[in-house]
Amino acid sequence: MNTPTQNFEQPTSFEFTPEVMDMAKAHIAKYPADRQASAVMPLLDLAQRQHDGWLPRAAMDYVADFLGMPRIEAYEVATFYTMYNLEPVGKHHVQVCTNLPCWLRGSDQIVEAAKRNLGVEMGETTDDGLFTLSSMECLGACVNAPMMQINDDYYEDLDETVTESILTELRHGQTPKTGSQIDRKSCEPIGGLTSLNSDAGGD
């Protein structure tokens, strides 16, 4: 992950589209004039979104030059955070959490289900370019473990069947339900509140 691999083409140039440029300027405006480098993270994210979900070197260079900061500093940021993809990813980036709480709640089975459904191993992309499968550390939704993130959406309280059906729906261009996949509202207890479920009483 760390050094760029050679088995895919790096584009030679990158440039924000006018719409993205407006968004970039809005981010920069949040910081004092000589501190525009502070906007490096949102700008890298914008670049990644514009560029099919991955960040080529030309885009990192572009963002660094745009912000007037050394290119190496943009590389440092982009390689530090796993949310920046430095290699091409599929249209749906399936990121299964395998950190401790999710693992205790059965993330191994979720990983197996995903591998089975997609026919790829961890870190690989399907031949049709639709899916990339990755494992992630804690994504902060342990309360509804096990879970996975696909692009910007969380899918929680998974089991093997649900995982497979989510992936199948995506493959057919449908929009699966996000959030908890069982009878749970947000991150409340299953089946509804178990406390503070009535008024405080009194007047």
């Binding site: 992950m1 760390n2 050094t3 190496i72």
Partner: protein, 683 residues
């Protein structure tokens, strides 16, 4: 000033110091990897842990500012345990390949592992391995050894001003490097070899050459530029294996340029190791006597005013003094130590010195650079300007070429018209200089070789006077020379005497005998039909033109005096003997003088120095600067409008030694490659 108790001893130190520095003042040695006096504090290796009263756990002393009443313990069981713990973790991912590592014997990690390492490992899991990086022809990498102290990154970013190194990835996957493969674009890159506390960054040309304990270490002075950096020459037998910097806060701090450090392999190639005489158009090896006889035969039949001498850029004071005396005894006043024809040295001594001193750059609050590219002409001095720049509250203006000097500056213009504007006060930078309390001007040596140099110098002098650069206790007029011999030669008066010819005239083909003392950077064709004697150490341009070659000593092979650009007198020390039949330069001239029937009045180096310092007393004050009185120099007159240009085209090859160096040739090639466009499709 805060008072601390360190291991029961009370010390009072300056506010703003760190606990680590206070411990050193108290005479306690604190182990460290990431901390370095000249770099920002990173606080990431945790080796410098000490105990602080009332702190729940050990603190990193390098990152903790001193406070009044602190009670510090540097040597307790807890601390030893803590440091052992840090060491154990550092060694988990360190390869322990000391037997095949060039750092062995001078490795901080090795040394400190002796103090804090366990004698066996508890770690049975996989070790990490990191791909080596290609940083170019100078720095060799074994990145698995890197302990992530980030010293190299901080050096490149802060001191060298080329933010190209970084730490990419994180956690176990963190790697130090450039990410996109490239040669470091700094003239100071070799210093990261010294800074790296382990064997991750080592010298490529020196790799697998020697162990430090096999080397003889000689303290000396560098002559690759006019800065006079303090160096240590490491030799084994007759061979100079490497050159490293010595600390001198007033001169080079602890940095040297890549040329100073790596050109030394040029000392092994193209050497003149015996006398030669040209016979039938071909140089034939001869004995010293035959060579002297050939010179005597020619000189005795030539009248003094047709004999001339030019001293090259690395000539030492002793040999220039001897040659000057010899020329005078032959009745010749035709001599010059400015082989580039620079018109500098007439008038006041202050007119050719870096008067503010190098350390004085740090006191300046406005700097005007005229016709100089300090980054190429003296990279270490440029680092001082950058240091000043990072300190803030300084305005820097440049007249001349607009290049990346590693700091921000106001670009004022390209040529003398801009200089005239500033001098006349019609350029806004004039006000900046006037408002500054310590304004300074740096005039490059490219200015001095122009046809109108006297007028430019005169304008610069007026500018200096008009903007308050010459004041009590401050002289901000600075000339940035590139030749190590220049100030010494001017101090000695190795310049045309009454009615004598200077370089330009000598190069007009009017002389019958020309004596070149290591002068190679002149137009040899312009010597016309003269009989040329070349005394020097390399088979370079001068030797190719010569009719007689007298093999001399390179700067590592003699005890000699050099005066740096600020007028500081320093001495080199013989680290290895001159090669073959070559001799120390003053001795050659002394022997030749006897053959010519003009025996010079000294028989030893000590006697020579006695006479030399009687003639020029400042040369006797070793390591000192004799400050110069302000006075007149330069001239009035018109300046032409050609843009200023730096005399250095290729930083890596400026003199016979660096031109003979394989390493410098590789650097030149690497530089040329990196300036051709990258394709961008590959890593």
């Amino acid at each position: 000033m805060p008072k601390l108790t360190i291991d029961g001893v009370e010390v009072e130190v300056d506010a703003g110091l760190t606990v680590l520095q206070a411990c050193e003042i108290a005479g306690r040695e604190i182990p460290r990897f990431c901390y370095h006096e000249r770099l920002s504090v990173a606080g990431n290796c945790r080796m410098c842990l000490v105990e602080m009263e009332r702190a729940p756990k050990p603190i990193a002393s390098c990152a903790m500012p001193v406070g009044d009443g602190m009670v510090i313990t540097t040597d307790s069981e807890t601390i030893r345990q803590a440091r052992k713990g840090v060491m154990e973790f550092l060694l988990i991912n360190h390869p322990l390949d000391c037997p095949i590592c060039d750092q062995g014997g001078e490795c901080d990690l090795q040394d400190q592992a002796m103090g804090y390492g366990y004698d066996r490992s508890r770690y049975a899991e996989e070790k990490r391995a990191v791909k080596d990086k290609n940083l170019g022809p100078l720095v060799s990498t074994v990145m698995t050894r890197c302990i992530h102290c980030t010293r190299c990154i901080r050096f490149a970013t802060e001191i060298a001003g080329v933010p190209e190194l970084g730490a990419t990835g994180r956690g176990e996957h963190m790697e130090v490097g450039t990410y996109v493969e490239k040669t470091l674009s700094s003239e100071l890159s070799g210093n990261i070899i010294d800074l790296c506390p382990v064997g991750a960054l080592t010298s490529k040309p020196y790799s697998f050459n020697a162990r430090p304990w096999e080397l003889k270490k000689t303290e000396s002075i560098d002559v690759m530029d006019a800065l006079g950096a303090n160096i240590r020459i490491d030799t084994r037998g007759a061979e100079v294996l490497r050159i490293v910097p010595r600390n001198n806060d007033d001169v080079n701090e602890e940095w040297i340029s890549d040329k100073s450090r790596f050109a030394c392999d040029g000392l092994r190639r193209q050497r003149l190791d015996q006398p030669f005489v040209r016979q039938d158009g071909k140089l034939q090896a001869v004995s010293w006597d035959e060579a002297f006889a050939a010179i005597a035969g020619k000189v005795k039949s030539t009248s003094g005013n047709k004999i001339a001498a030019i001293a090259g850029d690395q000539a030492d004071c002793e040999s220039m003094y001897a040659l000057k005396k010899l020329m005078e005894s032959l009745g010749s006043a035709n001599m010059d130590c400015r082989q580039d024809g620079a018109a500098v040295g007439e008038g006041s001594r202050a007119g050719y010195l870096f008067n503010s001193t190098i350390a004085g750059i740090e006191d300046a609050d406005a700097i005007l650079i005229v016709g100089a590219d300090p980054r190429l002409e003296s990279p270490v001095l440029n680092a001082r300007i950058r240091k000043r720049f990072l300190g803030g509250n300084v305005s820097i203006g440049v007249i001349g070429e607009e290049t990346d000097l590693t700091y921000r500056y106001d670009y004022l213009g390209a040529g003398p018209d801009t200089l005239a504007d500033v001098a006349a006060g019609s350029n806004s930078f004039a006000q900046v200089l006037k408002d500054a309390s310590n304004p300074m001007i740096i005039v490059g040596s490219g200015v001095l070789t122009r046809a109108d140099s006297a007028a430019v110098l005169g304008t610069a002098r007026k500018l200096a006077e008009a903007t308050g650069m010459i004041a009590d206790g401050w002289n901000g007029f600075n000339v940035l020379h590139t030749a190590a011999s220049r100030v010494g030669g001017l101090d000695l008066g190795f310049v045309p005497g009454e009615g004598g010819a200077g370089t330009n005239e000598i190069l007009s083909g009017s002389m019958d005998v020309v004596y070149l003392l290591g002068a190679d950077e002149i137009d040899m064709a312009a010597l016309g039909g003269a009989f040329v004697v070349y005394q020097g150490h390399h088979g370079d341009a001068g030797a190719h033109r010569a009719d007689v070659i007298l093999p001399g000593a390179a700067y590592t092979e003699k005890n000699a005096t050099y005066v740096n650009l600020e007028g500081r007198v320093q001495r080199t020390q013989l680290a290895s003997f001159p090669v073959g039949e070559a001799k120390e330069d003053w001795a050659i001239l002394r022997a030749l003088s006897a053959e010519l029937g003009q025996t010079l009045a000294f028989d030893s180096l000590a006697e020579l120095r006695d006479r030399m310092t009687t003639a020029t007393p400042s040369l006797g004050n070793i390591d000192d600067i004799a400050a110069a009185e302000w006075g007149g120099f330069g001239a009035d007159g018109a300046m032409n409008n050609d843009a200023f240009a730096s005399p250095i085209e290729n930083f890596f090859m400026t003199d016979p030694i660096s031109r003979a160096s394989q390493t410098m040739a590789e650097c030149t090639a690497a530089r040329d490659n990196s300036t051709t466009a990258r394709t961008g499709t590959h890593g």
